[in-house]
C-alpha cells in the first residue's frame, strides 16, 4: 500500500481543504478549529495525531485543570517538597540526604477491556514515571475497586487484574506492600485499577523531563514500537463505554515486564554515571507526549527523524508511530560526547537504543519522515496549551434526599445473639473479609527491605540499612462516604491514609491522589469532582501535607450510570528507625486495649449499613482534621517511646473489625467491655473518624495515659488482649477459629 503523496507540512499548506478524521481521533470540532488556528493552516496527519492524543482528557486534564489549580494555590508550606506537581512524579525530602518520589495513577478503562494486560501495563507505566525522576523503584501499591463480589463479571475482571499486577510487578522485583480492594455494584462496568509506586534516590540524583542544550542527542531506548495501544489515551481513557461502539481491545497495550526490568537497571546505571540531561518515559500518547514535553520543558526546540524509530511492525504509518503506546520505552537527552557510553550501557543490558533526533536552538518541534517534514509545531501548544474547559457543575437534585435518608435510623440489633450474628456477617462480608487470596499473589519480600506489607495499616520500606530510616505509604478512599458528601469524602480519604501512616509510627509528609469520577460532561459528576478537590486541597493545607502529583480518571461510567466519586488518596510518611514501627497484630496477652478518640453515633455510609441493610444514605462521619493531627502525634510518640506494642486504625467496619483483624493476625483474642457513655452497638460498629485502638503493655499504662491526658486526646480503656476468642462482656463470645473461618474463606469461595 503506498501513501501518496506524503502529508508533509508543505503539502498541508497547499491542500487546505483535505478532510481529516479529527472526530474519529477523539477531537471535538472547536478543538480541531483551534489546532488550525494555532498552526495557521490545517494540520498534517501526523500533527493531528499528536494534538488529538495530547489534547485528550487523559493527557491534557482539560476538564479538571481549573479545579486542580487549588492543589498549588492552597499548598501548605513544606520544607519536605523538592519537586512538586507537573513533573513525572513529586519528590519529597525524607532526611539523611534521601529523597523519595511517589505517585498513584489509574489504568481503569484498559483493565475492564482486558484485565490482565490493562492492570499489568498500569504497573509498568507508574514504575517508569518513578525511574524517570532518577529514582530506584522500591515498592508498589494497588488500590482496586470492583463490581459486586458475587457478579459473574467480577470473576472475569478481578482474577485477571490481580494476575496482571502480580505477573508484571513480581517480575520487576518490586514488593507490593499496600493498597485496597473494595467491591461495590457501582463499579460493575467500571472497575478502578489504580497503581502507585515509590522510588528512592539521593537528592543530587533528581532528574527532570526537559531537553536542553542545542546539539544534545535524543535517544529512544527500550522496546521496539508496535501497533499496540494506539489512541489508548484519547479513545479508551477519555470516553464513556458504550455497547454500540466497536471493541476497544486493540487500544490496550501489551506489557513485557522482563523488558521493563532491563530498562530499570540500564537507566539507573546511566544515571549513576551522570550521562542523562533530561528524561521522559513513554506512556500515554507515546512519542507524541515524550517529544513535545521534553521539548517544551527545555530551552530549545527538537528535531526528530521518525524513520530511525525501531519498529516491531514495518508497516506502521508515521501517525501510528507517534500515537503508539507500546510499553517499556523511554526517551533520554544525552550530551553528544556521552552518547557512546550511554549506548554501551544499553548494549550491556541488551536494550535497544537509537538516536532519533537532537535538541536544536530553535523553538519548534520538527519531525521528519522519509525526508519530508511532517510535523512543525510549537511544542508548548501540544504539551501545555491544550483546551481548558470550565465545565458546568451543579449539586445534583438527589443529594438532599440521599443525605436525608439517615442511616442512624436503621433498625439495630435487639439481642446479644443478633449482635454476635452481625459481627460475623460484617467480618465475612466481601469488603471486610481477608484479602489474602489477592495479596498472596504479590511478592512482598523482594529487595529485602519490606518492614510492613498488607494487611498492615501502611506498607513500610527500609531505605537505609545502617540507620534504619524508612518510609511508609497508605492509600485510602471511601466512595460511599464521597457519594454522601464529596467534600467530606475526600477529606475522610486523606484523614484515613494520614492516620494509617501514623498508626504504623511514621510521620505523614506528602500526598498523591488518583481522582476517579464519572463523566465530566454531567454537571452532577462535575460538582462531585469540584467538591472533592476543594475538600482535599483544604484538608491538605490544614494538615500540612502538600499534594505532589497524581492523576485524574474521568469517564468512569457506563451509559448514564457513574461510579461513586472515588478520590483515592496516598499519604507518604517517614520513620527514623523502622525498628520502632507498630504492627497491627496483638503481640502479648495481658496488654491493655485503649480506644483513642471520640465515638459517636455515625453510621452513614458505614460498612454495617451496607452489609446488614444494603443501605447508603445520611451523612458520612464528621471530619476533624485537628483531631487527626493530634491522634497522629500521639501514635508516633507512643511508637517512638515504646508505649504501645500494636495499633490499628479504625475506619470502615469500626472497632470490631479492627479488633478482629488484630486478634487474627496475632493469634490472640481480646476481652472487651462497653465503656461508660456508649452502648455495645455503637462501640462496635460506629465509623467515627480520628480513632485508633492500641495495645499498651501494663508497665506503660501510666505513662501512656499521662501523655494522652496532657495532650487532650480521649483514651478509653476498653479491654485486654487475652484468650482464644473475641468477647464482649455480657454480650457474646466469638472463638478465633470461628472468626478466622468467617474472615478468610469469603474471597476464595467467591472466586472459586
Amino acid at each position: 500500500m503506498s501513501r501518496t503523496p506524503l502529508d508533509t507540512v508543505e503539502h498541508a499548506a497547499a491542500t487546505p481543504d483535505v478532510e481529516l478524521p479529527w472526530a474519529e481521533l477523539g477531537l471535538k470540532k472547536d478543538e480541531y478549529e483551534r489546532v488550525v488556528e494555532i498552526l495557521g493552516r490545517r494540520p498534517t496527519g501526523a500533527e493531528l495525531a499528536m494534538y488529538s492524543v495530547m489534547w485528550s482528557e487523559h493527557c491534557s486534564y482539560k476538564s479538571s485543570k481549573v479545579h486542580l489549580r487549588q492543589f498549588g494555590e492552597k499548598a501548605p508550606q513544606s520544607d519536605a517538597l523538592l519537586v512538586g506537581i507537573g513533573e513525572n512524579a513529586g519528590v519529597v525530602d525524607v532526611g539523611q540526604g534521601y529523597a523519595v518520589t511517589f505517585k498513584v495513577e489509574s489504568h481503569n478503562h484498559p483493565s475492564y477491556v482486558e484485565p490482565y494486560q490493562g492492570a499489568a501495563t498500569g504497573v509498568g507505566g507508574i514504575v517508569r514515571d518513578i525511574i524517570a525522576m532518577g529514582a530506584r523503584p522500591v515498592a508498589v501499591v494497588d488500590p482496586l475497586r470492583f463490581g459486586a463480589a458475587d457478579h459473574p463479571d467480577t470473576k472475569r475482571v478481578l482474577p485477571g487484574v490481580v494476575a496482571g499486577i502480580g505477573g508484571y510487578g513480581n517480575c520487576l522485583g518490586l514488593p507490593n506492600i499496600g493498597g485496597e480492594v473494595v467491591f461495590d455494584a457501582c463499579y460493575q462496568g467500571n472497575p478502578l485499577v489504580n497503581a502507585g509506586a515509590i522510588g528512592v534516590m539521593r537528592h543530587e540524583d533528581i532528574h527532570l523531563a526537559k531537553a536542553s542544550g542545542a546539539g544534545n542527542k535524543v535517544i529512544l531506548y527500550g522496546a521496539r514500537t508496535g501497533g499496540d495501544g494506539i489512541g489508548g489515551a484519547s479513545i479508551l481513557a477519555s470516553e464513556t463505554f458504550d455497547d454500540a461502539k466497536p471493541s476497544k481491545r486493540p487500544a490496550v497495550q501489551v506489557g513485557d515486564p522482563f523488558q521493563e526490568k532491563l530498562l530499570i537497571e540500564c537507566t539507573l546505571e546511566a544515571f549513576k554515571e551522570k550521562l542523562v540531561v533530561g528524561i521522559q518515559d513513554l506512556g500515554a500518547a507515546g512519542l507524541s507526549c515524550a517529544t513535545s514535553e521534553l521539548a517544551s520543558n527545555g530551552s530549545g526546540g527538537m528535531r526528530v527523524t521518525l524513520d530511525d524509530v525501531p519498529l516491531r511492525d514495518s508497516t506502521l504509518s508515521p501517525e501510528e508511530i507517534l500515537m503508539s503506546e507500546s510499553q517499556e520505552r523511554m526517551c533520554a537527552v544525552v550530551e553528544p560526547e556521552k552518547v557512546d557510553r550511554f549506548l554501551e550501557i544499553c548494549d550491556k543490558w541488551d536494550v535497544i537504543a537509537t538516536v532519533i533526533g537532537e535538541v536544536t536552538d530553535g523553538d519548534r518541534l520538527e519531525i521528519y519522515w522519509h525526508g519530508g517534514k511532517i510535523v512543525d509545531v510549537d511544542p508548548r501548544t501540544v504539551a501545555h496549551d491544550g483546551p481548558v474547559y470550565e465545565r458546568p457543575y451543579a449539586r445534583p437534585s438527589w443529594q438532599d434526599e440521599l443525605q436525608a435518608d439517615d442511616a442512624n435510623k436503621l433498625p439495630r440489633p435487639g439481642t446479644s445473639a443478633e449482635l454476635r450474628q452481625q459481627v460475623l456477617q460484617l467480618v465475612s462480608s466481601p469488603n471486610q473479609a481477608s484479602k489474602k487470596w489477592i495479596t498472596s499473589q504479590y511478592d512482598h519480600f523482594v529487595q529485602g527491605n519490606t518492614v510492613l506489607a498488607q494487611p498492615e495499616d501502611s506498607g513500610m520500606i527500609r531505605i537505609d540499612e545502617e540507620t534504619g530510616l524508612g518510609v511508609a505509604i497508605a492509600t485510602d478512599g471511601n466512595g460511599r462516604y464521597a457519594k454522601l458528601d464529596p467534600y467530606a469524602g475526600a477529606q475522610l480519604a486523606l484523614s484515613e491514609a494520614y492516620r494509617n501512616v501514623a498508626t504504623t509510627g511514621a510521620k505523614p509528609l506528602a500526598v498523591s491522589d488518583c481522582l476517579n469520577f464519572g463523566s465530566p460532561e454531567d454537571p452532577a459528576v462535575m460538582w462531585q469532582f469540584a467538591e472533592a478537590i476543594r475538600g482535599l486541597a483544604d484538608a491538605c493545607q490544614q494538615l500540612g501535607t502538600p499534594v505532589t502529583g497524581g492523576n485524574v480518571s474521568l469517564y468512569n461510567q457506563t451509559g448514564e450510570v457513574a461510579i461513586h466519586p472515588t478520590p483515592v488518596v496516598a499519604v507518604l510518611g517517614v520513620i527514623d528507625d523502622v525498628a520502632r514501627r507498630t504492627p497491627v497484630a496483638f503481640q502479648e496477652e495481658g496488654q491493655l486495649l485503649y480506644l483513642l478518640g471520640d465515638t459517636r453515633e455515625e453510621f452513614g455510609g458505614s460498612a454495617w449499613s451496607q452489609v446488614v441493610h444494603d443501605h447508603l444514605g445520611g451523612l458520612p462521619p464528621k471530619v476533624d482534621l485537628e483531631r487527626e493531627r493530634l491522634l497522629a502525634e500521639i501514635l508516633i510518640s507512643a511508637s517512638r517511646d515504646g508505649m504501645i506494642d500494636s495499633a490499628h486504625d479504625l475506619s470502615d467496619g469500626g472497632l470490631i473489625q479492627a479488633v478482629v483483624e488484630s486478634a487474627l493476625l496475632g493469634g490472640k483474642g481480646a476481652r472487651l467491655i462497653v465503656p461508660d457513655g456508649l452502648d455495645a452497638f455503637t462501640l462496635l460498629f460506629s465509623e467515627s473518624a480520628g480513632r485508633a485502638v492500641v495495645a499498651v503493655p501494663r508497665s506503660e499504662e501510666l505513662r501512656f495515659n499521662d501523655m494522652c491526658g496532657a495532650r487532650g486526646l480521649p483514651a478509653t480503656r476498653i479491654g485486654v488482649v487475652d484468650g482464644d476468642s473475641v468477647e464482649l462482656q455480657g454480650e457474646f463470645e466469638l472463638p478465633l477459629e470461628e472468626l478466622r473461618t468467617a474472615h478468610e474463606e469469603t474471597i476464595p469461595a467467591l472466586l472459586k
Partner: protein, 234 residues
C-alpha cells in the same frame, strides 16, 4: 580471610542484591558475577538467585542455563564447587542437569507468596550443616512455577539416598492451608546432588535473615553460615 561467595546476575534476576546482603550478614564476602562473564573470579561458592531470568520465557531457567557463566558453573560444580540455587536458581540448576527433575506451574495456577513452613530433611549438605535434621523452619516462598516433578524412579532414588533436603509443611494456626503450596511431588521443596555440594530449593532463605524484615524471622541465615563454616573449616 573469609569466604568469597559469588552471586550471579542474569537479565531478570531479582534477588541478587538481597542474596549479597544475606551473605554479608553471615560474615562472608559477596562477589557479584555477571551472566556474560565466564570467569568466576576465584569465588569459593556460587549462588544462583531468584527472579525471572529472561522473563521465564520459553520455560523458567531454560535460557539462562545456556549463558556463558553457566558453562563454568556447571564444570566447577561437577568438580565440587558448592552451588546453591534459590527459586529461579533451582530452576536453572535442573535445566542445567546439575539436579534431577524439573519445575512445572503451580497446580492452582496462581503466583503464591507466603511464609512457608519447611522441615530440614538433610543437614549434611554444604548449605545445611548449621541446621539439624528434622528441624522445622519458616522461609518465605514466592513463585509461579514451583511444582517439583520427577519420575518415580528418580523420586525413589532421591529419597533412598537422603537427597531430599527440605519438605513443605502446613503452618500452625492457619485455616485450611495445605502444607504443600504448589503440588510438588512428595512435598519436595529442595534437593541436593549426590555429592551434596549442589543444593536447590524453591523458598527464599535470603528473605529470612533479619528479624525486622520480610517474614520477621532469621531461619534462612543458617544457609549462609553453613557454607561459611564449610569453606572456612575446609
Amino acid at each position: 580471610m573469609t569466604a568469597r561467595i559469588g552471586v550471579v546476575t542474569f537479565p531478570g534476576s531479582l534477588d541478587d542484591r538481597d542474596t549479597q546482603r544475606a551473605i554479608r550478614l553471615a560474615g562472608a564476602e559477596p562477589v557479584a558475577l555477571w551472566h556474560k562473564d565466564k570467569d568466576l573470579h576465584q569465588v569459593d561458592a556460587v549462588v544462583l538467585p531468584g527472579g525471572f531470568s529472561y522473563g521465564d520465557y520459553l520455560r523458567a531457567g531454560a535460557i539462562s542455563r545456556f549463558s556463558p557463566v553457566m558453562e563454568t558453573v556447571i564444570e566447577q560444580a561437577k568438580a565440587g564447587l558448592p552451588v546453591l540455587g534459590i527459586c529461579n536458581g533451582f530452576q536453572i540448576l535442573t535445566e542445567a542437569h546439575l539436579l534431577p527433575g524439573g519445575m512445572l506451574g503451580n497446580d492452582h495456577l496462581h503466583f503464591i507468596c507466603r511464609d512457608q513452613k519447611l522441615r530440614v530433611e538433610n543437614a549434611d549438605t554444604a548449605w545445611t550443616v548449621d541446621y539439624t535434621s528434622g528441624q522445622e523452619i519458616h522461609i518465605p516462598l514466592k513463585n509461579m512455577d514451583g511444582r517439583y516433578v520427577a519420575d518415580e524412579y528418580t523420586l525413589d532414588k532421591l529419597e533412598a539416598e537422603g537427597r531430599v533436603v527440605f519438605r513443605y509443611l502446613a503452618r500452625d494456626g492457619v485455616a485450611n492451608e495445605r502444607g504443600n503450596p504448589n503440588g510438588s511431588l512428595r512435598d519436595i521443596a529442595g534437593i541436593t546432588n549426590e555429592a551434596g555440594n549442589v543444593v536447590g530449593l524453591m523458598p527464599h532463605p535470603e528473605h529470612a535473615v533479619e528479624p525486622l524484615i520480610g517474614s520477621g524471622r532469621t531461619d534462612g541465615l543458617p544457609f549462609f553460615t553453613s557454607i561459611l563454616k564449610k569453606l572456612v573449616n575446609a
